[in-house]
Protein backbone atom coordinates (compact mmCIF):
# COMPACT_ATOMS: atom_id res chain seq x y z
CA UNK A 1 0.00 0.00 0.00
CA UNK A 2 1.52 3.28 -1.11
CA UNK A 3 0.34 6.78 -0.24
CA UNK A 4 -0.34 8.84 -3.37
CA UNK A 5 -1.74 11.97 -1.70
CA UNK A 6 -1.56 12.96 1.96
CA UNK A 7 -4.29 14.64 4.02
CA UNK A 8 -2.60 18.03 3.68
CA UNK A 9 -2.37 17.69 -0.08
CA UNK A 10 -6.03 16.64 -0.32
CA UNK A 11 -6.99 19.77 1.59
CA UNK A 12 -5.01 22.01 -0.78
CA UNK A 13 -6.35 20.22 -3.84
CA UNK A 14 -9.96 20.67 -2.69
CA UNK A 15 -9.34 24.40 -2.22
CA UNK A 16 -7.89 24.62 -5.74
CA UNK A 17 -10.75 22.65 -7.33
CA UNK A 18 -13.35 24.82 -5.59
CA UNK A 19 -11.62 27.95 -6.87
CA UNK A 20 -11.56 26.52 -10.38
CA UNK A 21 -15.35 26.08 -10.29
CA UNK A 22 -15.79 29.67 -9.08
CA UNK A 23 -13.44 30.90 -11.78
CA UNK A 24 -15.43 29.20 -14.56
CA UNK A 25 -18.92 29.71 -13.11
CA UNK A 26 -19.23 33.32 -12.03
CA UNK A 27 -23.04 33.08 -12.03
CA UNK A 28 -23.41 30.19 -9.59
CA UNK A 29 -27.22 30.45 -9.72
CA UNK A 30 -27.04 28.88 -13.20
CA UNK A 31 -24.72 26.12 -12.06
CA UNK A 32 -25.52 22.95 -10.16
CA UNK A 33 -23.06 20.69 -8.41
CA UNK A 34 -23.82 16.98 -8.32
CA UNK A 35 -21.83 14.41 -6.35
CA UNK A 36 -21.91 10.78 -7.43
CA UNK A 37 -22.90 8.15 -4.88
CA UNK A 38 -21.45 6.47 -2.97
CA UNK A 39 -17.91 7.87 -2.62
CA UNK A 40 -17.99 10.92 -4.86
CA UNK A 41 -20.25 12.70 -2.37
CA UNK A 42 -17.46 12.93 0.23
CA UNK A 43 -15.49 15.03 -2.27
CA UNK A 44 -18.53 17.05 -3.41
CA UNK A 45 -19.47 17.79 0.24
CA UNK A 46 -16.01 19.27 0.80
CA UNK A 47 -16.04 21.20 -2.48
CA UNK A 48 -19.45 22.74 -1.71
CA UNK A 49 -18.30 23.57 1.82
CA UNK A 50 -15.25 25.34 0.39
CA UNK A 51 -17.34 27.25 -2.18
CA UNK A 52 -19.71 28.43 0.56
CA UNK A 53 -16.78 29.53 2.69
CA UNK A 54 -15.26 31.41 -0.22
CA UNK A 55 -18.50 33.12 -1.26
CA UNK A 56 -19.69 33.79 2.33
CA UNK A 57 -22.49 31.21 2.21
CA UNK A 58 -23.87 31.86 -1.23
CA UNK A 59 -26.77 29.53 -2.05
CA UNK A 60 -25.35 26.55 -3.97
CA UNK A 61 -27.57 24.14 -5.92
CA UNK A 62 -26.15 20.87 -4.66
CA UNK A 63 -27.49 17.38 -5.34
CA UNK A 64 -26.47 13.74 -5.03
CA UNK A 65 -26.93 11.20 -7.80
CA UNK A 66 -26.93 7.42 -7.60
CA UNK A 67 -26.22 5.64 -10.88
CA UNK A 68 -26.90 2.03 -9.83
CA UNK A 69 -29.95 1.62 -12.07
CA UNK A 70 -28.01 2.89 -15.10
CA UNK A 71 -24.97 0.59 -14.84
CA UNK A 72 -24.08 -1.54 -17.86
CA UNK A 73 -23.07 -4.52 -15.70
CA UNK A 74 -26.31 -4.83 -13.77
CA UNK A 75 -26.72 -8.49 -14.74
CA UNK A 76 -23.14 -9.44 -13.84
CA UNK A 77 -23.29 -8.37 -10.23
CA UNK A 78 -26.07 -7.01 -8.04
CA UNK A 79 -25.54 -3.50 -6.73
CA UNK A 80 -27.66 -1.98 -3.99
CA UNK A 81 -28.75 1.58 -4.73
CA UNK A 82 -27.96 4.66 -2.66
CA UNK A 83 -30.00 7.81 -2.23
CA UNK A 84 -30.54 10.25 -5.08
CA UNK A 85 -31.46 13.78 -4.03
CA UNK A 86 -31.85 16.41 -6.73
CA UNK A 87 -34.60 18.74 -5.58
CA UNK A 88 -34.10 21.48 -8.16
CA UNK A 89 -34.31 21.72 -11.93
CA UNK A 90 -31.18 21.11 -14.01
CA UNK A 91 -32.90 22.29 -17.20
CA UNK A 92 -30.65 24.68 -19.16
CA UNK A 93 -28.15 24.89 -16.31
CA UNK A 94 -24.47 23.99 -16.20
CA UNK A 95 -23.81 20.82 -14.23
CA UNK A 96 -20.53 19.97 -12.53
CA UNK A 97 -20.41 16.21 -11.88
CA UNK A 98 -18.07 15.23 -9.07
CA UNK A 99 -16.56 11.79 -8.42
CA UNK A 100 -13.53 10.58 -6.48
CA UNK A 101 -11.76 8.42 -9.09
CA UNK A 102 -12.07 8.36 -12.88
CA UNK A 103 -10.99 4.95 -14.16
CA UNK A 104 -12.78 3.25 -17.09
CA UNK A 105 -15.33 6.03 -17.62
CA UNK A 106 -18.31 3.65 -17.34
CA UNK A 107 -19.63 5.23 -14.13
CA UNK A 108 -19.62 8.66 -15.78
CA UNK A 109 -21.40 7.26 -18.86
CA UNK A 110 -24.11 5.94 -16.52
CA UNK A 111 -24.20 9.27 -14.68
CA UNK A 112 -24.77 11.16 -17.95
CA UNK A 113 -27.71 8.85 -18.74
CA UNK A 114 -29.14 9.32 -15.26
CA UNK A 115 -28.70 13.08 -15.46
CA UNK A 116 -30.67 13.33 -18.71
CA UNK A 117 -33.68 11.84 -16.91
CA UNK A 118 -33.78 14.97 -14.73
CA UNK A 119 -33.72 17.44 -17.63
CA UNK A 120 -31.49 18.85 -20.34
CA UNK A 121 -28.50 20.69 -18.90
CA UNK A 122 -26.87 23.41 -21.00
CA UNK A 123 -23.46 21.89 -20.26
CA UNK A 124 -21.97 19.08 -18.17
CA UNK A 125 -18.45 19.21 -16.74
CA UNK A 126 -16.58 16.52 -14.84
CA UNK A 127 -14.46 16.98 -11.74
CA UNK A 128 -12.44 14.13 -10.22
CA UNK A 129 -9.91 13.95 -7.42
CA UNK A 130 -7.94 11.18 -9.14
CA UNK A 131 -7.65 10.55 -12.87
CA UNK A 132 -6.21 7.11 -13.60
CA UNK A 133 -4.70 7.89 -16.98
CA UNK A 134 -4.51 5.44 -19.91
CA UNK A 135 -7.21 3.13 -18.49
CA UNK A 136 -10.30 4.59 -20.14
CA UNK A 137 -12.76 2.28 -21.93
CA UNK A 138 -14.96 5.14 -23.16
CA UNK A 139 -14.11 8.59 -24.60
CA UNK A 140 -14.62 10.49 -21.33
CA UNK A 141 -12.16 13.01 -19.88
CA UNK A 142 -12.28 15.23 -16.80
CA UNK A 143 -12.48 19.05 -16.92
CA UNK A 144 -11.07 19.47 -13.43
CA UNK A 145 -8.51 17.04 -12.02
CA UNK A 146 -7.02 16.84 -8.54
CA UNK A 147 -4.15 14.62 -9.56
CA UNK A 148 -3.42 12.36 -12.53
CA UNK A 149 -1.73 9.08 -11.74
CA UNK A 150 -0.36 6.24 -13.82
CA UNK A 151 -1.25 2.81 -12.51
CA UNK A 152 -1.54 -0.71 -13.85
CA UNK A 153 -4.80 -2.69 -14.12
CA UNK A 154 -3.99 -4.94 -11.16
CA UNK A 155 -3.62 -1.94 -8.85
CA UNK A 156 -6.52 -0.31 -7.03
CA UNK A 157 -6.78 3.35 -6.13
CA UNK A 158 -8.67 4.04 -2.95
CA UNK A 159 -9.61 7.47 -1.66
CA UNK A 160 -10.01 7.45 2.13
CA UNK A 161 -12.15 10.13 3.77
CA UNK A 162 -12.11 11.31 7.38
CA UNK A 163 -15.93 11.04 7.63
CA UNK A 164 -16.00 7.43 6.47
CA UNK A 165 -12.56 5.89 7.00
CA UNK A 166 -11.16 8.01 9.83
CA UNK A 167 -8.48 9.76 7.75
CA UNK A 168 -7.96 11.67 4.49
CA UNK A 169 -5.57 9.86 2.18
CA UNK A 170 -5.28 8.45 -1.34
CA UNK A 171 -3.57 5.08 -1.52
CA UNK A 172 -2.46 2.73 -4.26
CA UNK A 173 -3.15 -0.90 -3.36
Amino acid sequence: MKTVITAEQINLTIKRLAHQILENHLQLQNTVIIGLQPRGVYLSDRIVEEIKRETSNLQVNYGKLDITFYRDDVRKELHVPNKTAIDFSIEERAVVLIDDVLYTGRTIRAALDALMDFGRPSKVELMVLIDRRYSRQLPIQPDYTGKSIDSIVTQKVKVLWQEKDGKDEVVLI
Binding site: F69, K83, T84, F118
Partner: protein
Protein backbone atom coordinates in the same frame (compact mmCIF):
# COMPACT_ATOMS: atom_id res chain seq x y z
CA UNK B 1 -25.49 -7.74 -0.54
CA UNK B 2 -28.22 -9.75 -2.27
CA UNK B 3 -31.41 -11.60 -1.46
CA UNK B 4 -30.96 -15.03 0.11
CA UNK B 5 -33.48 -16.51 -2.30
CA UNK B 6 -33.73 -16.89 -6.10
CA UNK B 7 -37.52 -16.55 -6.08
CA UNK B 8 -40.08 -14.51 -4.18
CA UNK B 9 -42.60 -17.22 -3.34
CA UNK B 10 -43.58 -15.98 0.09
CA UNK B 11 -42.52 -13.83 3.02
CA UNK B 12 -42.11 -17.08 4.98
CA UNK B 13 -38.88 -17.82 3.02
CA UNK B 14 -37.32 -14.36 3.56
CA UNK B 15 -34.92 -13.31 6.29
CA UNK B 16 -35.34 -9.96 8.09
CA UNK B 17 -32.26 -8.77 6.12
CA UNK B 18 -34.01 -9.69 2.85
CA UNK B 19 -37.10 -7.71 3.89
CA UNK B 20 -34.98 -4.69 4.87
CA UNK B 21 -33.10 -4.84 1.56
CA UNK B 22 -36.37 -4.97 -0.41
CA UNK B 23 -37.84 -2.04 1.53
CA UNK B 24 -34.64 0.06 1.30
CA UNK B 25 -34.42 -0.56 -2.45
CA UNK B 26 -38.11 0.32 -2.83
CA UNK B 27 -37.34 3.70 -1.23
CA UNK B 28 -34.84 4.48 -4.01
CA UNK B 29 -37.36 3.39 -6.65
CA UNK B 30 -40.00 5.62 -5.11
CA UNK B 31 -37.61 8.52 -5.76
CA UNK B 32 -37.29 7.35 -9.39
CA UNK B 33 -41.09 7.51 -9.69
CA UNK B 34 -41.02 11.21 -8.71
CA UNK B 35 -38.57 12.15 -11.49
CA UNK B 36 -39.53 13.91 -14.74
CA UNK B 37 -38.57 10.66 -16.55
CA UNK B 38 -39.94 7.83 -14.41
CA UNK B 39 -37.98 5.07 -16.05
CA UNK B 40 -34.58 3.44 -15.56
CA UNK B 41 -32.79 1.04 -17.93
CA UNK B 42 -31.91 -1.63 -15.33
CA UNK B 43 -33.90 -4.53 -16.84
CA UNK B 44 -33.44 -3.57 -20.49
CA UNK B 45 -32.28 -7.09 -21.43
CA UNK B 46 -34.84 -8.98 -19.33
CA UNK B 47 -38.09 -10.53 -20.56
CA UNK B 48 -40.84 -11.10 -18.01
CA UNK B 49 -44.12 -12.97 -18.39
CA UNK B 50 -47.11 -12.14 -16.22
CA UNK B 51 -49.09 -15.36 -15.78
CA UNK B 52 -52.48 -14.57 -14.33
CA UNK B 53 -54.70 -17.57 -13.78
CA UNK B 54 -56.99 -15.53 -11.53
CA UNK B 55 -58.60 -12.11 -11.92
CA UNK B 56 -56.65 -9.07 -10.78
CA UNK B 57 -56.72 -5.33 -11.40
CA UNK B 58 -54.33 -3.60 -9.01
CA UNK B 59 -51.62 -6.25 -8.70
CA UNK B 60 -51.49 -6.87 -12.41
CA UNK B 61 -51.36 -3.21 -13.43
CA UNK B 62 -48.85 -2.54 -10.68
CA UNK B 63 -46.52 -5.34 -11.79
CA UNK B 64 -46.79 -4.34 -15.43
CA UNK B 65 -46.07 -0.72 -14.63
CA UNK B 66 -43.11 -1.73 -12.44
CA UNK B 67 -41.70 -3.86 -15.26
CA UNK B 68 -42.11 -1.07 -17.81
CA UNK B 69 -40.55 1.49 -15.46
CA UNK B 70 -37.52 -0.84 -15.34
CA UNK B 71 -37.44 -1.09 -19.17
CA UNK B 72 -38.15 -4.85 -19.22
CA UNK B 73 -39.92 -6.58 -22.11
CA UNK B 74 -43.32 -7.74 -20.87
CA UNK B 75 -45.65 -10.52 -22.00
CA UNK B 76 -49.10 -10.73 -20.45
CA UNK B 77 -50.90 -14.02 -20.21
CA UNK B 78 -54.44 -14.58 -18.96
CA UNK B 79 -55.80 -18.06 -18.48
CA UNK B 80 -59.15 -17.03 -19.93
CA UNK B 81 -58.91 -17.05 -23.71
CA UNK B 82 -55.76 -19.20 -23.67
CA UNK B 83 -55.05 -22.86 -24.46
CA UNK B 84 -55.66 -23.68 -20.79
CA UNK B 85 -59.30 -24.19 -21.79
CA UNK B 86 -58.08 -26.85 -24.28
CA UNK B 87 -56.60 -28.83 -21.40
CA UNK B 88 -52.98 -27.63 -21.40
CA UNK B 89 -51.27 -28.21 -18.06
CA UNK B 90 -49.64 -25.42 -16.05
CA UNK B 91 -46.18 -26.88 -16.62
CA UNK B 92 -46.73 -27.21 -20.38
CA UNK B 93 -48.01 -23.64 -20.61
CA UNK B 94 -45.00 -22.29 -18.74
CA UNK B 95 -42.44 -24.44 -20.58
CA UNK B 96 -43.86 -23.26 -23.90
CA UNK B 97 -43.55 -19.66 -22.79
CA UNK B 98 -40.02 -20.23 -21.44
CA UNK B 99 -38.88 -21.75 -24.73
CA UNK B 100 -39.46 -18.25 -26.11
CA UNK B 101 -36.57 -17.14 -23.83
CA UNK B 102 -38.34 -15.59 -20.87
CA UNK B 103 -36.19 -14.73 -17.83
CA UNK B 104 -38.75 -14.14 -15.08
CA UNK B 105 -42.28 -15.25 -14.29
CA UNK B 106 -44.80 -13.30 -12.22
CA UNK B 107 -47.63 -15.59 -11.31
CA UNK B 108 -51.06 -15.47 -9.76
CA UNK B 109 -52.97 -18.70 -9.32
CA UNK B 110 -56.03 -19.85 -7.41
CA UNK B 111 -54.19 -22.98 -6.21
CA UNK B 112 -52.00 -22.51 -3.14
CA UNK B 113 -48.46 -23.66 -3.89
CA UNK B 114 -48.66 -23.30 -7.70
CA UNK B 115 -45.58 -21.00 -7.89
CA UNK B 116 -43.66 -23.33 -5.55
CA UNK B 117 -44.46 -26.22 -7.88
CA UNK B 118 -43.20 -24.19 -10.86
CA UNK B 119 -39.99 -23.18 -9.08
CA UNK B 120 -39.02 -26.86 -8.84
CA UNK B 121 -39.43 -27.40 -12.58
CA UNK B 122 -38.25 -24.30 -14.41
CA UNK B 123 -35.04 -22.27 -14.35
CA UNK B 124 -36.62 -18.77 -14.45
CA UNK B 125 -36.96 -16.59 -11.35
CA UNK B 126 -40.54 -16.63 -10.05
CA UNK B 127 -42.45 -13.96 -8.19
CA UNK B 128 -45.66 -15.00 -6.49
CA UNK B 129 -48.40 -12.43 -7.13
CA UNK B 130 -50.85 -14.36 -4.93
CA UNK B 131 -51.48 -18.10 -4.72
CA UNK B 132 -54.82 -19.32 -3.43
CA UNK B 133 -55.08 -18.79 0.33
CA UNK B 134 -51.34 -19.11 0.88
CA UNK B 135 -49.30 -15.91 0.33
CA UNK B 136 -49.21 -12.57 -1.45
CA UNK B 137 -45.68 -11.39 -0.63
CA UNK B 138 -45.55 -8.12 -2.59
CA UNK B 139 -48.79 -6.95 -0.91
CA UNK B 140 -47.25 -7.52 2.53
CA UNK B 141 -44.10 -5.67 1.43
CA UNK B 142 -46.05 -2.66 0.18
CA UNK B 143 -48.14 -2.66 3.36
CA UNK B 144 -44.92 -2.67 5.40
CA UNK B 145 -43.43 0.10 3.24
CA UNK B 146 -46.57 2.22 3.70
CA UNK B 147 -46.48 1.70 7.48
CA UNK B 148 -42.78 2.63 7.53
CA UNK B 149 -43.62 5.89 5.75
CA UNK B 150 -46.17 6.76 8.44
CA UNK B 151 -44.48 5.40 11.57
CA UNK B 152 -40.76 5.28 10.66
CA UNK B 153 -40.31 1.79 12.13
CA UNK B 154 -42.04 -1.57 12.28
CA UNK B 155 -40.40 -2.62 15.54
CA UNK B 156 -42.97 -2.56 18.33
CA UNK B 157 -45.69 -1.29 15.98
CA UNK B 158 -49.16 -2.56 16.86
CA UNK B 159 -51.07 -3.81 13.84
CA UNK B 160 -54.59 -5.21 13.81
CA UNK B 161 -55.58 -7.34 10.84
CA UNK B 162 -59.36 -7.26 10.63
CA UNK B 163 -61.69 -9.50 8.63
CA UNK B 164 -61.55 -12.83 6.84
CA UNK B 165 -58.23 -14.18 8.15
CA UNK B 166 -59.11 -17.75 7.18
CA UNK B 167 -59.11 -17.23 3.41
CA UNK B 168 -56.65 -14.34 3.24
CA UNK B 169 -53.22 -14.69 1.64
CA UNK B 170 -52.68 -11.01 2.43
CA UNK B 171 -53.17 -11.72 6.14
CA UNK B 172 -50.76 -14.63 6.10
CA UNK B 173 -47.99 -12.71 4.29
CA UNK B 174 -48.52 -9.71 6.59
CA UNK B 175 -48.35 -11.85 9.72
CA UNK B 176 -45.07 -13.45 8.57
CA UNK B 177 -43.55 -10.08 7.73
CA UNK B 178 -44.68 -8.27 10.88
CA UNK B 179 -43.52 -11.15 13.08
CA UNK B 180 -40.09 -11.15 11.42
CA UNK B 181 -39.71 -7.37 11.73
CA UNK B 182 -40.69 -7.17 15.39
CA UNK B 183 -44.19 -5.72 15.17
CA UNK B 184 -47.07 -6.90 17.36
CA UNK B 185 -50.08 -8.40 15.59
CA UNK B 186 -53.68 -8.92 16.58
CA UNK B 187 -56.08 -10.69 14.24
CA UNK B 188 -59.71 -9.74 14.57
CA UNK B 189 -62.85 -11.12 12.97
CA UNK B 190 -65.73 -13.51 13.52
CA UNK B 191 -64.66 -16.87 15.01
CA UNK B 192 -65.72 -18.64 11.80
CA UNK B 193 -63.22 -16.57 9.78
CA UNK B 194 -60.21 -17.07 12.07
CA UNK B 195 -58.25 -20.36 11.93
CA UNK B 196 -58.69 -22.27 15.20
CA UNK B 197 -55.00 -22.68 16.11
CA UNK B 198 -53.66 -19.44 14.68
CA UNK B 199 -52.16 -18.35 18.02
CA UNK B 200 -50.12 -21.56 18.15
CA UNK B 201 -49.08 -21.30 14.48
CA UNK B 202 -48.04 -17.62 14.48
CA UNK B 203 -47.02 -15.03 17.04
CA UNK B 204 -50.43 -13.32 17.02
CA UNK B 205 -53.22 -12.66 19.47
CA UNK B 206 -56.88 -13.19 18.56
CA UNK B 207 -59.44 -10.51 19.44
CA UNK B 208 -63.08 -11.01 18.53
CA UNK B 209 -64.16 -7.51 19.56
CA UNK B 210 -63.27 -5.02 16.82
CA UNK B 211 -63.53 -1.97 19.10
CA UNK B 212 -60.95 -3.43 21.48
CA UNK B 213 -58.66 -4.29 18.56
CA UNK B 214 -58.92 -0.73 17.16
CA UNK B 215 -58.28 0.83 20.58
CA UNK B 216 -55.13 -1.30 20.95
CA UNK B 217 -53.59 -0.81 17.50
CA UNK B 218 -51.58 1.91 15.71
CA UNK B 219 -52.66 0.68 12.27
CA UNK B 220 -55.55 -1.48 11.14
CA UNK B 221 -55.22 -3.52 7.97
CA UNK B 222 -58.82 -4.18 6.95
CA UNK B 223 -59.37 -7.16 4.67
CA UNK B 224 -61.95 -7.55 1.94
CA UNK B 225 -64.96 -9.65 2.77
CA UNK B 226 -64.91 -12.15 -0.04
CA UNK B 227 -68.49 -11.94 -1.24
CA UNK B 228 -67.84 -14.89 -3.57
CA UNK B 229 -67.62 -17.06 -0.45
CA UNK B 230 -71.07 -16.05 0.78
CA UNK B 231 -72.48 -19.46 -0.09
CA UNK B 232 -70.29 -21.01 2.62
CA UNK B 233 -72.42 -19.58 5.46
CA UNK B 234 -69.47 -18.40 7.53
CA UNK B 235 -71.47 -15.43 8.79
CA UNK B 236 -75.18 -14.68 8.69
CA UNK B 237 -75.23 -11.80 6.27
CA UNK B 238 -73.09 -9.02 4.86
CA UNK B 239 -75.22 -6.54 6.79
CA UNK B 240 -74.62 -8.31 10.07
CA UNK B 241 -70.89 -8.46 9.38
CA UNK B 242 -70.89 -4.75 8.65
CA UNK B 243 -72.66 -3.97 11.93
CA UNK B 244 -70.30 -6.15 13.99
CA UNK B 245 -66.97 -5.64 12.23
CA UNK B 246 -67.37 -2.87 9.66
CA UNK B 247 -65.16 0.15 10.37
CA UNK B 248 -67.09 3.40 10.26
CA UNK B 249 -66.57 7.00 11.38
CA UNK B 250 -68.55 6.44 14.57
CA UNK B 251 -66.22 3.59 15.61
CA UNK B 252 -63.12 5.70 14.96
CA UNK B 253 -64.59 8.69 16.83
CA UNK B 254 -65.05 6.51 19.91
CA UNK B 255 -61.28 5.89 20.08
CA UNK B 256 -59.14 8.24 22.13
CA UNK B 257 -56.46 8.36 19.40
CA UNK B 258 -56.02 8.51 15.64
CA UNK B 259 -55.22 5.25 13.88
CA UNK B 260 -54.08 4.50 10.33
CA UNK B 261 -56.41 2.48 8.12
CA UNK B 262 -55.10 0.22 5.37
CA UNK B 263 -56.84 -2.03 2.86
CA UNK B 264 -55.36 -4.23 0.13
CA UNK B 265 -58.30 -3.45 -2.19
CA UNK B 266 -60.77 -3.74 -3.75
CA UNK B 267 -62.87 -2.20 -0.95
CA UNK B 268 -66.45 -3.34 -0.43
CA UNK B 269 -67.70 0.10 0.56
CA UNK B 270 -70.22 -0.10 3.36
CA UNK B 271 -69.22 -3.65 4.31
CA UNK B 272 -65.74 -3.82 5.87
CA UNK B 273 -65.09 -0.08 5.46
CA UNK B 274 -67.47 2.87 5.19
CA UNK B 275 -66.78 5.45 2.49
CA UNK B 276 -66.23 8.24 5.03
CA UNK B 277 -63.39 6.17 6.52
CA UNK B 278 -61.94 4.86 3.25
CA UNK B 279 -61.73 8.41 1.87
CA UNK B 280 -60.66 10.11 5.13
CA UNK B 281 -57.20 11.23 6.22
CA UNK B 282 -56.98 8.12 8.43
CA UNK B 283 -56.76 6.05 5.27
CA UNK B 284 -53.52 5.39 3.35
CA UNK B 285 -55.18 3.09 0.79
CA UNK B 286 -54.09 5.13 -2.25
CA UNK B 287 -50.55 5.53 -0.88
CA UNK B 288 -50.45 1.74 -0.63
CA UNK B 289 -51.29 1.47 -4.33
CA UNK B 290 -48.61 4.05 -5.21
CA UNK B 291 -46.02 2.27 -3.06
CA UNK B 292 -46.93 -1.03 -4.70
CA UNK B 293 -45.15 -0.01 -7.91
CA UNK B 294 -41.93 0.95 -6.07
CA UNK B 295 -41.95 -2.24 -3.98
CA UNK B 296 -42.51 -4.44 -7.05
CA UNK B 297 -39.73 -2.61 -8.90
CA UNK B 298 -37.44 -3.48 -5.98
CA UNK B 299 -38.46 -7.15 -6.05
CA UNK B 300 -37.99 -7.42 -9.82
CA UNK B 301 -34.65 -5.58 -9.70
CA UNK B 302 -33.20 -7.62 -6.84
CA UNK B 303 -34.35 -10.96 -8.31
CA UNK B 304 -33.01 -10.14 -11.76
CA UNK B 305 -29.50 -9.71 -10.38
CA UNK B 306 -26.45 -11.89 -10.44
CA UNK B 307 -27.13 -15.51 -11.37
CA UNK B 308 -30.88 -15.11 -11.37
CA UNK B 309 -31.66 -14.77 -15.02
Amino acid sequence: MALSTRHLLGIKDLTPADISLLLDTAKQFKEVLQRPVKKVPSLRDVTIVNLFYENSTRTRISFELAQKRLSADVINFSASGSSVSKGETLLDTVNNILSMKVDMVVMRHSASGAPHFLSKHIPAAIINAGDGINEHPTQALLDAYSMLEVFGTLKGLRVAIVGDILHSRVAQSNIHLLNKMGAEVVVCGPPTLIPKYIEEAFEVRVEYNVDKALQWCDAANVLRIQLERQNQVLFSSVREYSLAYGINRERLNRLNKKITIMHPGPVNRGVELDSDVADSDNSIILQQVENGVAVRMAALYLLSGSGNS
